[in-house]
Subunit: 207 residues, 2 copies
Amino acid sequence: MDFFDVVTTQRAIRRLRPDPIPDVVLRQIMDAAVCAPSGGNRQGWSFVVIRDTATRARLGALYREAWGELMNVPYYRDAAAAPPDSPAGKLVASARHLAEHLGEAPVLVLACIAADGAPTLTTGASIYPAVQNILLAARALGIGSCLTTIHRFRDAQVKELLGIPAGVETTALIPLGYPLRKFGRPPRRPVAEVAFADRWGRALAGA
Amino acid sequence: MDFFDVVTTQRAIRRLRPDPIPDVVLRQIMDAAVCAPSGGNRQGWSFVVIRDTATRARLGALYREAWGELMNVPYYRDAAAAPPDSPAGKLVASARHLAEHLGEAPVLVLACIAADGAPTLTTGASIYPAVQNILLAARALGIGSCLTTIHRFRDAQVKELLGIPAGVETTALIPLGYPLRKFGRPPRRPVAEVAFADRWGRALAGA
């Protein structure tokens, strides 16, 4: 697929078929992940690729609990009260579906990063580019995915379940599966609203 | 360009020509950026696109100072002592070139994210996917780039120079320009070394 067709039609797909993903396809997705940059080319990343049924079911249960916690966060609680056909309402309905079915996705990828001491904002600069490569490569191969982080509400249990050692942070849990709905341009603010010329607040001509 | 040709040949390009980047090309790069995911689809991102000569020169001077600070960090100090033809030695030579010439890149993009309170690791999940889209889209269009974060050693000065308001974090400074050297597969550990099956430490068959 053409690069710009991929990057402009990658969107969160939260309704997934349970059909398995062939090894060769998964391998190509993970190869894209490791081509990403990381600070000082340290490559402190690790990816736990979960296909075992019982492990997925347990992660699904933990994720459902995490969703319950998220609904206590004001931003999401407000979104859950939005009309069902509003953008916020649709997002919450889709995210709730995922919360109830995460463990049924045929593959879950937990992206991890080694962190000396407390991780910071820029620790993310060494792992989320690789996560984005996973989402894009999946889309290029017709596989739905989304970037989730709420497993961190049950981080200790997730780490214990998967044997994540000390000094390693979990950064994203990515469900992968063939999509029940279509890819397409995601709902986003236009460039003109978010890009500035030379200084904050100055309009970018032509954007 | 084919998606996998882009994603597997995007690598840090730190030696850039000063030739300008056409507006239409820049526009396509920024459009890729805003297609990225963000937590709750909040899109709390902003991008300051710097082409003004004096502003680039001042950012270049601040970046050079930041480089000096980085060389006090043990990991990078050790890398700077590596043989010039070793991977670490080559990386440092390339990064030093960038430190001395950042302000000569025709475009610098400062990626920012709104953060309520102190940013965390997962704050990065809402901006570094967009940053990765910038790097990939640039590569698809034949433009070199790299992800840098060391401007944060001079964060207050950078924010003042560009008028970044309170409650907004700077996350990456990305130089863009036509490359002096070739694109190609970046030096990375293979998937088999960094991906596990179902549980930390368990080999992923076929990886």
